[in-house]
Structures are given as C-alpha cells and as structure tokens.
Symmetry: D2
Subunit: 342 residues, 4 copies
C-alpha cells in the first residue's frame, strides 16, 4: 500500500517534534512537508529545530525544508500543533483551501460544528464534519483533539458514564512541564516548587469534558448533563499528567462494578483495553506507568470510596503523546479507516 503523504504545521515546536517522532515508520502515513514560523522557513528541519525529544530525530526528517504556513504545495492531510495565537487564522486558511487539518490547537475545539474527538470515546462525533462543510463551504475540514489534561479525565470517565451515568466530577491535576512547550517553564519557577495556576486550563477541562462526553444527534453535540470542577497545578515532572478524581454517578455502583466497567470498556477503532487498570496501592506513577501502551493508555488506580462524592481514584496519561501528538494521530487513523481521507 502506498503511504499517504502528510504535513505538519508547527513542526519545530515540542508537539511538532513528537509528530515527527511518532510518524517515523508509521504504516499508513509519511511526512513529506513541514511548516513552521517565518523564522524557521527556508532552513532544513535539522537546522531549524532545537530537537528536545529523547529519541534522536529521524534521519528522514533531517533535510526536509521547512516551509511557511501557507497552503501552496502542502499535502492534503496536515497535523497542526500551531500556537493558539496563530492557529485560528492559519487552520481556517488550510481548510478553505481543501486540506484536512487534524489539529491539537485549542482554537476550534468548542465550535459547534467541529469534532472534538477521542476515538476511544466519541468516534461518532466525527460526523460533525458534514455540518461543518455544509455551513462553512470549506473544501477541507478541521478535526480537533482535547487539551492534554482533559484526555486522561475523559478516558477514565467514559466507561463510568456509559454504565452508570455521570453526575459530578471534581479533579485536581499535577501537570508535567512539557505541557507548556519549549522553552516553556523556567527552571527558576518550578525547581522545588508547585505552581497552582495554569492560565485557561481549568476552563478548558471543564467545558471540553462535557463536549466530549456529550451526545451527537442530528449534527449537533448536546453537552453532557453533569458538572465538572478542576484544580490545575504544575509540578516538576517532565512528562505525564497525574490527576486525582472524585466522582458521583447517576446510578448505583460498587467498587468492583467500577473496576469491571473499566476492564470491560472496548472502543473503536483499536479494540484496545483502555483505560489500563493498576491495583497496587501507590500507582499509577509517571516514573513507571507513563509509557503504558506506548504512551497511549490512560492508567487508572487507587479506586476507593469518597466520603464527599462517591468514588475516588487516580489517573495518569502522557501529555505530549496521548494528550497531544498521539491523540491527533489516532484521530487521523480513525478518519482514514472511516473513509474521510479518500
């Protein structure tokens, strides 16, 4: 099978680098085109990029020229990790010009006709793009994945919502520094410290969770009818967002039934066993569980009763893989297998 040529918008940033790394040896997709800011345009990728991923830069990317973020010459399918300051205008321009933009940026996530997608959770939301193309008269389309903090929360909640219904969710995050990109968090701000504020993050988690777990009917998403409250914090961890979660359910459940709901959960497209459940009393931990399922799992553990809501547990997910580049890649895989890229 001939591989589909793809491009990356924002290829030199942290998430862009993850795209380059994850797409090496991908069975379906092949990077042919990289774009970044004007400062980088005209250089080779190797010269333009301050590579920060631990695995070495794939040799196939070394000499790719970095383009400006303009549609001319770009392949049909584009992964976007543009900064939200420029993503709005740029992604719209590519979609109008006929490109499929699979975006990790926040700009279009809450638009009513743009899918906010986790293939393991709400693959049917992808149908929103029909509405999108009709209303916006775009030849292309935009599909988005959630914020890196939302994804672990939603993946741990989806099996509970499906079986018991959700009523209330209270979450506190301890987020990794890589979530802020590069250069991102100055060492002087976080060494030996906790920063209990991440601009806009709590609001994103609260609203994205309700869209992701909402019902898609007649080309519209009805937001989930439960409430969410988030406390977001930055801690000195490289990769991996850890979240403590308390939840109240609509219907009666027991601890073993919740464990079972997590274990039974199956989903399009990959039929993997997600979330991944651990039974040790002190897990999940970023150090040991970060790379479960190659960084695509959300690992849950420490399930117990909560005196205030009903149950409480801990969830962990890899913020630049499952929470960013890997999420967009999985979206594109779903789109391809569902025929959206033909």
């Amino acid at each position: 099978m001939k591989k589909l040529e793809v491009g990356i918008l924002g290829a030199t940033g942290m998430v862009g680098q993850r795209f380059v790394s994850l797409l090496e040896h991908h069975p379906w997709f092949e990077i042919k085109w990289l774009a970044a800011s004007e400062r980088s345009a005209g250089k080779t990728y190797r010269d333009a990029c301050n590579w920060r991923v631990r695995d070495p830069m794939p040799q196939s990317a070394w000499d790719l020229p970095v383009q400006e973020c303009k549609p001319a010459g770009a392949p049909q399918l584009l992964f976007s990790s543009l900064d939200s300051k420029v993503a709005g205008e740029a992604e719209r321009e590519f979609a109008q010009a006929g490109h499929v933009v699979v975006s990790n940026s926040s700009n279009f996530r809450m638009e009513h006709d743009v899918p906010l997608l986790i293939p393991d959770v709400n693959p049917d939301h992808l149908t929103l793009v029909r509405e999108q193309r009709k209303q916006r008269k775009w030849k292309g389309m935009i599909v988005t994945n959630p914020n890196c903090t939302t994804v672990g929360l939603v993946m741990s909640l989806a099996p509970l919502q499906k079986r018991f219904g959700l009523d209330k969710v209270l979450m506190t995050s301890m987020q990794a520094v890589s979530g802020a990109g590069y250069p991102g968090i100055p060492t002087l701000d976080i060494l030996g410290n906790v920063v209990p504020f991440i601009g806009g993050e709590e609001e994103k988690v609260e609203r994205e969770t309700r869209k992701l777990l909402g019902k898609c009917v007649d080309g519209q998403v009805k937001m989930g009818d439960f409430i969410v409250s988030a406390h977001c914090n930055r801690v000195m961890v490289e990769d991996g967002h850890t979240e403590t979660i308390s939840v109240a359910l609509k219907n009666k459940a027991s601890l073993p039934e919740i464990m079972q709901a997590w274990r039974d959960y199956r989903s399009l497209p990959q039929e993997r066993n997600l979330p991944s459940v651990r039974e040790e009393r002190d897990r999940p931990q970023p150090k040991f569980d970060l790379l479960a399922e190659n960084g695509m799992a959300t690992v849950v553990g420490r399930l117990r009763e909560c005196a205030v809501l009903q149950f409480k547990y801990v969830a962990l997910s890899h913020n630049t893989i499952r929470g960013a580049a890997g999420a967009a890649l999985l979206n594109a895989e779903l789109m391809k297998s569902e025929g959206y890229l033909d």
Copy 2:
C-alpha cells in the same frame, strides 16, 4: 524571668532538629535535656545527630548529652517527636511519671480525653486534660498537635466554619518530602515523579479535621458534623504542603464574604492575622510563601467558585514548622499562658 527548662524526645530526627532550631533564643523555654534512641544515647548531640536543617545547629546544643527516653532526670515539659512505633508506650510512661508531654506523634491524637490542638482554632479543647488526668490517674498529661497535612486544611476552614458552617470538604494535597522525615523518601522514588499514595495520611486528615473543628462540651469533643475526603500525594518539594480544596458551606456565602471571613479571623493566643490571604492568581507557592509569619502562617489564595461544591481555593503551610515542631511549640506557649505549666 527565669526560662522554663524543657526536653525533647526524639531529638535527632527531622522534627527533633526543628525543635532544637526553633527553641534557640526562645523567650520562655530553654533546652536542657535531649533524648533519642539507644543508638544515639551516650553521645553528644553534635555526634549523634546528622543535622539536616539549613540553619546551623545552635552552639548551645552541641555538647548536650543524648539520653535514653526514660523519665529519670527529665524536666517537667517535654516536646515529643518520637516515631509512632515507640511513641505510644514512651509518652504514656512520661505522663504517668508526672511530665507534660507536648507531642507531635499521632498515637494519642484521637483518644477522647487527649486534646488535639491548634491554638488559633480550638484553644478550648485544652480543657480535655482535666478529664484525662481524672480518668487515667496520671500526674502529668499529653497534649497533641495534628498531622502536617491536616493543619493547613483546618486553619483555612476554621474561619469559614465559624461564619457559615461547613457541609462538605474535598482536598488534594501535594506534599513535601520532608514530611517523611530523614532519610525518608529515596531520590529514586520522587525525582521527576509524583507518588499518589502516603500510607495512613488520608485517614488521618479525614478524622483529625473533624475532631479539631468539633465542639468541646462537658469534657468531651463532639466531632464536626461535616464530611471530609482527601487525596494525598507526594511531590518533589523540600518543605511546604500545597493543598487544593473545594468546600460546600451550610449557609449562603459569596466570594467577598469568604475573603472577609479569612481576613477578620482572630484567635487566641497571639492575635495574629491567620490565615494569610494572597490575591495574585498564581499564589500561594512553596517557593515564595513558605516562610510567611516565620513558617507559622497558612497561606490561602486563588479563591473562586466551584461548580461541584461551592468554592475552591489553594492553601499552603510549612509542614515541619506549622505542621510539626512549630505547632507543638505553640501548644506549649498556649499551655503556659493559660497556667497549665505552673
């Protein structure tokens, strides 16, 4: 005024070292006697102790001989930071022998006739010792301070309980490594990691909070009639427990009224302005707020509405000062000013 001679049980541990450090130049108390495990007994304090406090060991302590933990020769007033494995028996022995044991250990905290005390919050609980002496026929007494994670929670809740009544409290902690003593947490366990489990901690927080904020009537504490749920985590911070807290109140309140309740709160014995309130959107932080009021404040901030309960905020307190040695010292100061040490 002649200073009161005091001793320390468990003087070589982390909290014991804090006692030694905080008691240097104390206006009322003077260290005359140090005790530790058999391994240390017989040495001078300087030889027995692997000093880990940043400020140098006070010269007055260098040559004090370390004793075994036996009452003979000990002064009347003793601060205890013994390990809970040995504290139960040892503290009982000292109390029987007529000593006043002001303890940071957890063993006696939940006994119905032992005061669990924060002078700024429940100074009247000190009257429990009358019951204690009557029932136990001790010539001395035991008074305790709460767990280091409980103290910041309770200090931030007390003004809210007083004005609005408490209904529900949900707390997630990000706790410093010094809370585990020395040697405590191995670097290999916490470097770049979050550990979402601290043995027994959540249970301590949940029950101690309700005793501290309970009413003391007729020599008995009626536990506070609200519910508490805690998620406790260890992060790579040296000193300072950061807590995210959501709360539902019994009576109607607004954000400004809560701020006012915190600001207005006054308490025995020191009439300080506690908790300390910050208005920046990203504070409190261990790096900047740890030493407010010489480490005796609980600093609160980020007050906002909570969709699930009603309000949410962040609290920070110094775990080895306000949460341990400083707490016991304040208890002793209260006891002295109330005439319990005459």
Copy 3:
C-alpha cells in the same frame, strides 16, 4: 549621615532584583532611580517586574517609576546589570555623561584601563580609573566585577597566590540555573540532566582570573603568570556555583600551610575572614553553605593532595550575591570608603 542616592540599570532582571533586595536598609546607599528596557519604561517597578527573589520586593521600590536607560535625571552612582548586548553602548554613554557605573556586565571587564575588582583580593586595581579618565576623557567612570564563576575560584586562590605563588589551576564548575538569568534555563533542558556547556564561560574564567590576580603597576595590570583551564557545567541547583579545583603552586606548601593561608587571609575593606573554611569531609554544599556571611563568603573545603597537580579542594559561592549584585555593591562600598564617590 545622608544616604547617597543610587540608580540601577537593568533593574527588572534577576541581578537587578538582587540589587533592589540588597540595597534595602543599606547604611550608605538608597535607591532613587530604576531603569530597564523600553518595554518596562513608564510602568511602576511593581508592574514592570516579575519578581523572582524569595524575599518579598521591598515596599520602597513598589511605586518607583521605571525609566529608560538614558542619563538624564539619573543619580551619579549607578549599578548596572544590563544584558551584554546593550551594556557596552549604554554604560559608555553614562560614563561619558559623568556617572560612576559599577557594572556586573562583561563588556568592559577585560579593557586595560577598566578595573576588574574584588575588594578582598585586588583593591589596588581601582587606581586604574585614573588612567581610564585620562585616556577616555570621561567625566564619569566604569568599574566592573568578575563573572559569577570566576569569583569563587579567585577568592580561594588569592591566599595561595600571596603565600606560595600560583603555577597551574584546573577547575570544573557545577553551576546553578540562576546564573543564566530569568527566564533562563528551560526546565526541559535541566530536569534530571547535566549540561556540560555554557557559552563563553570557560574563556571568561580563564582570562578574568589572570587579570584579577595580576599586578597593577603604573596604571597597568600585568596578567598573573600562571595558567588556568576550566570545564563549566550547568546542574539543577537554584543558587550556588560549586567548583572542584586542582592547583599547582610555585613554592613548596603542605596541607596545613594551605589551611593556614586561607585562615590568615585578611583583606580590605571589611577585614572579614574570607574564604570561609569547612573541615567536614562532605562540605561545602549549596544546601547548607550558600548563605555563609550573607552570601558574600566563598566557602572552601575538602582540601587534599592531588596526584596530578599538587592540591585539590572544593569551593562554593553564591552566584547572584557574591557573584553578581553583592560583588558590585562591595565594589561601590570600597569606592566610597576610598573617596572615589565624593
């Protein structure tokens, strides 16, 4: 005594903030004027500055207006911590206009007619300013302090040079992140890492050491006739540069004689006991020794024989106090007491 009014060039940066912090309650100097980049000019200091020092910003600085870096209206004495990209031109302009610029920037350090000064080591180099004013026809003058890595090395070497003569010096540094300013080192670059390269640092250490320990004769400095080689590394420490040093001396010495040379060393202007010597086998350490003499000491320890050169030891100094703001302040104190500011 009326205090001398002073100003700060580059007041919002990390070293500028240290100047503001150290000058609070200074017996001789009083901040009256702050300048920074155009971006900050026009704001109050509190609004312009992202304060990163642990001690709170002095209230006296809160409402000082931040000026552009232009001489008009500036006091005679100015402390400069400008970025080296702009320091060259700006400092020259101030000196021409009659100001005394006491600079922490590297631009003028190696100029033959500019004093590179450590008052404890080479106070006589201050006389170079006579040459400077004569040749450059400036009404003011520029005086500099060394790089933050040089200062600990030189303070530990000066007593050895004085008594035994220096032949060869080999130094490896483990430098704190605060040495790179703010935002400085991204967390992603240093968390769990060592970076064995700091641009230009090794060259600065090698040449500044020889100027500082050179002889000043007839308005000229003869570079010290010994050789220096430096390996510079960045490690995950907030403040404090640790250096391992091997040295060969011109004249015969023993370990006790070297200890004695360090202990006997006295110097203008403050007659303090510098460097400070520790005898424990595992000291100095940033955690415990950083603030010796309020951050102005260089702490040495672990003296032993070196098989390759002759002796080896460890030195530690506070890089933003003794290595930057405190160094410049001490230079100004020397200048005042020697009559250069009348």
Copy 4:
C-alpha cells in the same frame, strides 16, 4: 542452542534488578536461581523485591523463589551484586565451591590474581584466572568489573593510551543517584544540591584506572605508568555519570588525531564502535545520550585543548548498565566466547 543457567547474588538490589532486566531474552543465558539476604529468602522474587527499574519486572522472574546466598543448588555461573560488606566472604565461598562468580562488587577488584575487566579494553587480563586458581586452589573463580565511575573514564582513555601513551589524567565526576543503590540518597540530601563527596570513590577511580590500563604479563598486571586524580560529586540525575576530563599524553597529538583515535578504536569481543563520539558543542548529556548502544556506550564530546594539561573533553556512561550489570554481563559473554564457561 540450550541456554546456560545462571544465578544472581544480591538479586533484589538495584544492580540485581538490572541483571534480571538485562537477562530477559538473553540469547545465551537464562536466570534459574536468585539469592538475596536472609530477609528476602523464602519469598518469591515478586514479593521480596521492591522493583525500581522503569521497565516492568520480567514475568519469568515473578515466581522464582529467593534463596539464601549459599552455594547448595546454585548454577555454575553467578552474577554478583552483593553489598561489599558481605561480598568478600560470600563470593569466596562460591568460588571455592566451584562457581564462576562474575562480580560487580569492589572487594576483589584490586587483588593481584583477580581480573578487573572491561572486554573492550583489556580482554587479555582474563588470563589472570589461571594464576588465581593455581594459587587459591579454587575450583571456581572470581572475575570483576570496575566501579561505575571508572568505566567511562577508562573507555575514553583506552584509545588515547593505545595511540599516544598516557601521562596525566584529571577527572571531575557528576554522578547519578542510582549509583548509590536503593534506597540510596535521601531526597533531602540532593534536591537542589551538589554533594562533593562520595566515600571511597576517588580512591577506587584512581587505582582501578591504572590496573585496567596496565599490562598483563606472565600472569601479572603491571599498573599503568601514568597518574590519575579524581574529584567525585553527586548531582540530582537519576542515571548517567558525566565526567569532565583533562589529559596529558606521552606522545604528541592533535585534536583531529584524538578524534580519529576514538573513531578507529576497535576491540574484542563485539567490534562495536566505542566510545561513541558526538560533535555538538553541548553534548554528551544524560538526557539525550544515556541509552546510546543500549546503555553500553561511553559517549565522548567537547574535545578541546587544555591549557594546564593538553586536552580536555566530556564523557558520559550509564552507571547501572555500562557501569554495573551490563559490564558484568559483557564480562560473562567474553568468558563464554573464550571458553572459560565450558
């Protein structure tokens, strides 16, 4: 081919865990027997071991019973990572009983008839075992690998010694916390700190280097005729010892000739390209270079001239793989291919 059955002495410690991890899927060796202290004996490996390696414990090891460190029932080939307090006696007992002990412990390294071996450097030293068996009348034998800090130094020096001869070596290490085992370094000792002392380490480096690079003639090692001086430090890095090295050579060399010597170096048994050379100005770094050649490379870089000796550079190696378990495993592979295990 049937795999050779092997056992591990000290299987529950950090290096023991690395042995278990590295031996999974090994083509020649298969773990059949695990031994540890009395405290662990009698349990399954999974119950006895607090697993700290990031990769999960191999399932094949879960239910292996942990034995006491006694020869009865042990396979012929044993990897030892016993604590040096007990290794001396235990390893001797096994060797007397006919076992081949491939040891990471320091006890026998400097014995004149025990090979201290790096297969890439001094494979011929293995012949010492003939002398060993003759003199000690053991049916088995002991072979050792060097200290984790020595190995990177020696691997970077060997090509230089071979081509130019060594005269003087001065090394400063920045060592990872995993080198101290588990629990090892308390977080309170190293968070934001540098500890410039590691007991016995400098002495080990200085003497082991000269034995490893010595000549083996007539069943005796003549120590290398050069001098070595080491400064050893602990920094907050999980894995990977970084070393700055200055060197003076016996014969004339240029920078390009040294690069060429490193690149040309080939050695028994694996004909790999070691050490691995990097040309970026800020490498090697633990973050990026730790796992080069699966953790078996020593990565060198930043070669430049040294004013005091002649050349200087940086070397990095993985302390628990190349510096411990992987080193012993490579020794065993050499022994097998040379017929010592038949």
